[in-house]
Symmetry: C2
Subunit: 409 residues, 2 copies
């Protein structure tokens, strides 16, 4: 059994046209016109095909193929980062829809639900829909949303949603059989390995910090090298050392200095202070702890070496999420059955599966990203890989139905 | 012979009150209200003391003690950087005025002129008055002034000056006997050495460049360390290496990375490009050449090491200026006669003496800056050092008169 490849392509292209950018990507930030139009398209497409539809209190949009058992969720998201690519999120939603279409009329032990989660990318909050559905959406995150309170309230209003009702989207875990998400890898791992399907072992945790190196702003002409407390130098030494240290001692982890802000920031003034944005990720909590210890010690050492101070401020964190072994087995079986090469790999990016994994057996299927590029109009996945991913999603759903039936209802 | 210390203090304080800031500094950018008020004060003070005054076509303000010989200029500037200190420039002007006052009624072989140069600090152009007086003010600098054309034209109008007449301020070098400027050091050299008077050997040259490191902006979670072209890392490695290299191989020179601009500049994106502001200074042209060679090679090596490119753009430069040996001898003699400790040192900052040195024997006297701080409200020089500086200026003028008289008119 296969998804209808021609129809999948037609639907993928129809979706990519909504909010299309001249550079070939899409611009569909949460609750903007293009995003709302994409969601309407999804519901109408499902209805037209004879599927049931639902929209919950958090705005999650679903197409449903009902059966007499609990629900296996298949999904992703239709929002994009500003000036993003056409594959990120959209591929998973349209593939989930086509899994349901392929299985219409079959007698299944599980209800199948193709779901488009609200605001995965974080224009407003990040994982808004999946956190509401899994019951972990916090007051704190709504009070201080990533995109600001005003944007959140305006967005909810545009979508016809109500802040105080968002949590009504919560689902009873006993009604769920699991969650499977097809997504582009957004990294170069599969491409480098020449492998068709990625079986995601888990989603890395991340921690981020602001490091404020504080020296003395001085005249760059009259202050000798040995009389300086150069915050820029300490920040640079830290960034170089942090990179070398992570490459050497933490294989598989990443650490990034994504920004440095120099103050006052002029050719002829020794930098008085520099604000460094540091983030690091690992699949293992113990490694996150170790990274935090050694990187912050390195920052303090760089500051001390240059006779200045450094203030460390935690900015954000999320814990690593292991994905379900049973779902991983089902994905492996599906890929094998389709004659596709597969390998296990972690996800370096966050996904709705992080939230879902907290309440139901969850898994993710990756397909290769050309050049590892994502969040960019030039994001691309070969069409053959998109189809492979959709068929793997289909057979994973079938395998999970089989396992459910064997274990007994 | 000494300057009148009490009167010097009174005048210094009167000047410091014009444009005074709450933090104890002054805010007198060129042709702002406070700057124009300070210049009026200077002319009125000179007139009240019975000195002649003049204002030239570039707005340079002078008090003159006429004699039968060429003119020895003594001066500095009354403009300040925004939110600057009370000593930078003002000390040299008020001390020059008091040298003339101390010598009123004496029979001198040289005309003495206490001069306040227009726009030394560069709110508009930088060294505007001294370059006009020495005939090196270029069309290019007026077309693209540091502060913008609009600010220049508005400033000239406020001061009653005319762009097309600025160059009429040019002085015939044969009418000049030399130039001596008293200034605060703006660096920690004299304080560290515990020395009272600095005899400036020359004014360093400087060159500045923009270095654009160009890599790939990539997802910081999904892009492994070994698959990155991290422009921030290359910039950091360059900044650290450049510093180490200059400290090791170029004693007495300075090199500064005063700014880095990361793009896109987010926690979760590997920096795609970073713009680095690099400046270096030396008293020797050959060393500037060598610094340029090794620092730009280092930038290219850092880029290559991280698999990215770097574009190098020259931004500005000025050549080193040697100060006159005869004037340096006169300063040394003056300090010795006053029982003051003195040492020779270069000036890391630019001064009007750069321009003057092109047409007449020029020298500078430095007095200690507490903590090396300048261009800041906390800029401070002990009053005793200010008086020492003024008396050294007085005796340098007397020594130059003596030498002139001995050599014969």
């Amino acid at each position: 059994m296969r998804v209808d490849e021609a129809s999948l392509r037609e639907d993928f292209d129809a979706l990519a046209a909504i909010g299309a950018t001249p550079a070939g990507g899409v611009d569909r930030p949460s609750f903007g016109d293009a995003h709302l139009a994409a969601r309407r398209w999804f519901l109408e497409r499902a209805k037209a095909a004879g599927l049931e539809t639902r929209v919950d209190a958090a705005g999650n949009h679903s197409a449903v193929l009902p059966a007499n058992g609990p629900t296996l969720l298949l999904g992703s998201h239709l929002d994009s980062v500003p000036d993003g690519g056409r594959y990120d999120g959209a591929l998973g939603v349209v593939a989930a829809l086509h899994v349901l279409l392929a299985l219409q009329g079959h007698d299944l032990p599980l209800t199948l639900e193709a779901i488009d989660f609200t605001d995965e990318e974080g224009t407003l909050v990040g994982l808004l829909g999946s956190e509401a559905l899994t019951g972990v959406l916090s007051d704190e995150v709504l009070r201080n949303p990533r995109g600001g309170r005003d944007a959140l309230l305006a967005g909810l209003e545009r979508a016809g949603l109500h802040e105080e009702q968002l949590r009504d989207a919560r689902r009873d875990p006993t009604t769920l059989a699991g969650y499977v998400e097809l997504h582009i890898e957004q990294g170069p791992g599969l491409e480098h390995a020449g492998t068709q399907i990625g079986i995601v072992t888990g989603i890395v945790g991340a921690r981020s910090f602001t490091l404020d190196f504080r020296g003395d702003a001085r005249h760059a002409g009259t202050t000798p090298m040995n009389a300086r407390r150069d915050a820029g130098l300490a920040a640079a030494v830290f960034a170089a050392a942090a990179n070398a240290l992570v490459v050497r001692d933490f294989p598989g982890c990443v650490a990034t200095v994504g920004d440095m802000r120099f103050h006052p920031g002029a050719f002829n003034i020794v930098p008085g202070s520099v604000r460094v944005s540091l983030e690091f990720r690992s699949l293992e909590r113990a490694q996150l702890d170790a990274l935090e210890t050694v990187l912050l010690a390195e920052a303090k050492a760089a500051a001390k070496q240059h006779a200045l101070g450094v203030d460390v401020t935690p900015v954000g964190h999320w814990e690593p999420t292991a994905l379900d072994a049973g779902v991983r087995d089902a994905i492996e079986t599906a890929a094998e059955g389709l004659g596709l090469t597969a390998l296990e790999l972690p996800s370096g990016a966050g996904h709705d599966a992080q939230a879902l994994a907290g309440i139901t057996p969850s898994g993710m299927i990756f397909v290769p990203s050309v050049g590892g590029i994502s969040h960019n109009p030039s994001e691309h996945t070969e069409w053959e890989d998109c189809v492979n991913g959709a068929n793997t999603l289909l057979h994973t759903a079938l395998e999970l139905c089989r396992v459910y039936a064997v274990r007994g209802t």
